[in-house]
């Protein structure tokens, strides 16, 4: 077993374990903390997959901003006895177990043992990044690569989704402010 595989297993086990803690702990603040571990471990997985920017963004946004958001919300919606009763489980939790088991089994089955499609891939729009006589050289690192993919005016890029995402963020900001106003 090489280093990548070993790291993967360690990170995966911690990841799954802490996500079980997120849904299992009684104290909701403890759950929020376990959620941070989940985010961190997910970043580790991204690193293993050579997606450095995603890993950094994950830490920044998720483990940073979203966690703080959640903790602030927890603070502002104080429950009476935080230690024991702040994260109760539904009466019909067993339905959740059954459903998630079935869904999970379905996905795993489809992914591993199920038959896979053999449809041929159609030709791309133009040549891709890094091919010898194209106008889009292969960027040196992942950050530049993602930058090229997001903003490049000449090569294949995802500029339009980027612009839309920014509008989404704008709307979310305004929405959150409006909803969260104390009136």
């Amino acid at each position: 077993m090489d280093l990548a595989t070993l790291l993967f297993w360690i990170i995966a086990i911690i990841l799954v374990g802490s996500s079980l803690l997120v849904v299992g702990l009684r104290n909701i603040v403890h759950s929020a903390l376990a959620l941070v571990v989940v985010f961190a471990m997910a970043a580790g997985i991204y690193l293993l997959l050579n997606a450095e920017l995603i890993a950094i963004v994950q830490i920044l946004i998720y483990a940073g901003a979203v966690t703080i958001l959640i903790l602030f919300a927890l603070m502002l919606t104080r429950i009476s006895n935080v230690r024991t009763n702040s994260n109760p489980i539904n009466k019909v939790w067993w339905i959740g177990v059954i459903i998630s088991t079935l869904v999970g089994a379905g996905i795993i089955f489809a992914v591993t043992i199920g038959p896979h499609s053999t449809v041929s891939v159609q030709t791309a729009y133009g040549a891709g990044y890094g091919s010898t006589n194209s106008a889009c050289p292969l960027p040196p690192n992942n950050v530049a690569y993602i930058g090229q993919l997001l903003y490049s005016p000449t090569c294949y890029s995802y500029v339009l989704p980027f612009e839309i995402a920014s509008i989404v963020l704008l709307v979310a900001i305004i929405g959150a402010i409006v909803i969260g106003r104390e009136d």
Binding site: A12, S19, F39, I89, V92, I99, G104, A124, G126, S131
Partner: protein, 107 residues
């Protein structure tokens, strides 16, 4: 044994299930939100896995999975903000964050 796409996909599936359970079976609205976050992370892992293990050129040069993951993170952050604002607003009105009690659309 070497890592293959299947490992990451199975990991994503497991996380998705756990997140689904958390979304269905918890009373606290913020716990439900945390479950949803876990689900989104699971999807992210899957997407990035696809981007890494894709070898067919020229599609593999477009890193589609990673771009997808960027946007998912973006939208998830926006959604978390709005959702938490709503939860705080409901808490102010009703003094509870129990989703079982938000049932005005009951029969």
């Amino acid at each position: 044994m070497g890592l293959s796409l299947n490992h990451f996909l199975v990991l994503g599936a497991l996380l998705f299930c756990i997140g689904l359970y958390g979304a269905i079976a918890k009373h606290n609205a913020i716990a439900v939100l945390m479950g949803i976050e876990i689900m989104l992370n699971a999807v992210n892992i899957t997407m990035v896995g696809f981007a890494f293990y894709n070898t067919v050129k020229p599609w593999s040069t477009f890193l589609t999975g990673q771009i997808f993951a960027i946007f998912i993170i973006t939208v998830a952050a926006a959604e978390a903000a709005v959702a938490l604002a709503m939860i705080i607003s409901i808490y102010r009105k009703r003094n509870t964050v129990d989703v079982g009690e938000i049932n005005l659309m009951k029969w």
